[in-house]
């Protein structure tokens, strides 16, 4: 450190004591600005996280809706005038959820009197939910706004239990809602 570049230094004029060199000043400024930048970026990240919390909450409710739609089909099967209808009617083709096109999909307008639409287009544009006429659904025509959410309904049957798993995916996130519904009414 003896041969310093003497671009600029505080000149005390006594005993040759030295202050900071320009290089030292620059380096310390750089360090301070890096520290500030770090704090700043962590602060802005919170805004991102707040958005994520909102989306997660929306996804949870959409997942709950998925479970309720399946429960509604089960109860419809019991209420249905057709006495032959079994409790899991229209719910048996949503099993294989492993691939890109597995499980079922349904929205609030889906007909409860026909099988749930299968082969959920998990990774394509057609799998998105849209907001139209004030509701989330799959109708993407005129005036519908695409949301980031995609919902996949999977049903595994185990004797008198239907294990429902609803995946709601958005961006790179997934929210999973699980519920078991039972055949509590003797047929």
């Amino acid at each position: 450190m003896k041969k310093q570049i003497k671009i600029f230094r505080f000149n005390m004029g006594v005993n040759g004591e030295r202050g900071f060199t320009l290089i030292e000043m620059l380096v310390s400024c750089l360090m301070i600005s890096i520290a500030l930048l770090g704090v700043y970026s962590s602060v802005t990240r919170y805004t991102q996280q707040a958005k994520q919390v909102r989306e997660n909450f929306t996804a949870t409710l959409l997942g709950q809706e998925g479970v309720e739609l399946v429960r509604n089909v089960r109860d419809y099967n019991w209420v249905d005038i057709d006495e032959d209808t079994v409790w899991d009617h229209n719910l048996t083709n949503c099993e294989d959820c492993s691939g890109a096109n597995g499980g079922c999909y349904a929205d609030y307008l889906t007909d409860v009197n026909s099988p749930l639409p299968v082969n959920f287009p998990n990774y394509t544009d057609s799998g998105y939910l849209y907001v139209k006429n004030g509701f989330y659904g799959y109708d993407s025509t005129g005036g519908a706004t695409r949301t980031p959410f995609r919902r996949q309904i999977c049903i595994e049957e185990d004797a008198d239990i239907l294990h429902i798993t609803v995946y709601v995916r958005w961006a790179s996130h997934t929210t999973t809602v699980k519920e078991d519904i039972y055949k509590w009414l003797p047929e």
Binding site: F8, M12, M25, R54, F57, E65, Y76, V79
Partner: protein
């Protein structure tokens, strides 16, 4: 540092103009960035608080309505819903819903109504099974959030033919315009009625 000031005193020599200018500019740059950092942290905190408020309030209202709606009973005379033998006043989309809700304190079914007024979700409870004896409106959300849309979609509300379900949609923003963008939530869920819709 102490020596530095001592020396200045001793040698009766001040700082040069360039020293003063440089130190002032460093101070200015640092303080400006610190103030910026502080204000942005304050804004972020405000945004997070508003976000939390929005989620809490819409979540509460959603849960309250979901629970009341799924526990509803059929209105045989139609004195509450306005439609005989319906659970939620027949199929269709509506912004106000009247139904027979289970009242735990009374141990029976009472007419209940959900509606939206001036950005606030409101509930009214009747003292009996008709819509003639409604009490006063009770707010489910506060003025800290503004609910722009409250929609209900009823489906399957026909005895022996369908099992009713109600889809609830709530669109709400934070009332305070302090943060940008204003936090907004578009929520939807469905309640499938728990009582089976079979004629007794």
């Amino acid at each position: 540092m102490i020596n530095f000031f001592k020396n200045i005193k001793k040698s009766k020599k001040g700082m040069t103009l360039i020293e003063v200018l440089v130190s002032m500019s460093i101070f200015a740059v640092l303080s400006v960035s610190l103030v910026n950092l502080f204000t942005s942290a304050m804004n972020t905190q405000a945004a997070i608080l508003q976000n939390q408020e929005l989620i809490n309030q819409t979540g509460y209202a959603m849960e309250y309505m979901h629970k009341a709606l799924r526990m509803a009973d059929r209105d045989v005379p139609g004195t509450c819903t306005g439609v005989a033998n319906s659970n939620y006043g027949a199929d269709g989309t509506k912004t106000l819903i009247k139904f027979l809700a289970f009242d735990y304190s009374a141990g029976g079914y009472r007419c209940m109504e959900f509606s939206l007024s001036a950005g606030i979700i409101k509930v009214r409870k009747s003292t009996d099974a008709t819509d003639d004896a409604f009490g006063s409106y009770i707010d489910l959300t506060s003025s800290k959030i503004t609910v722009s849309t409250l929609n209900f979609a009823v489906d399957g509300d026909t005895v022996n033919i369908g099992q009713p379900k109600v889809t609830i949609m709530v669109d709400a923003v934070s009332t305070s315009k302090r943060v940008n963008p204003i936090p907004r939530l578009t929520l939807q869920t469905t309640a499938s009625q728990r009582n089976l819709n079979i004629a007794q």
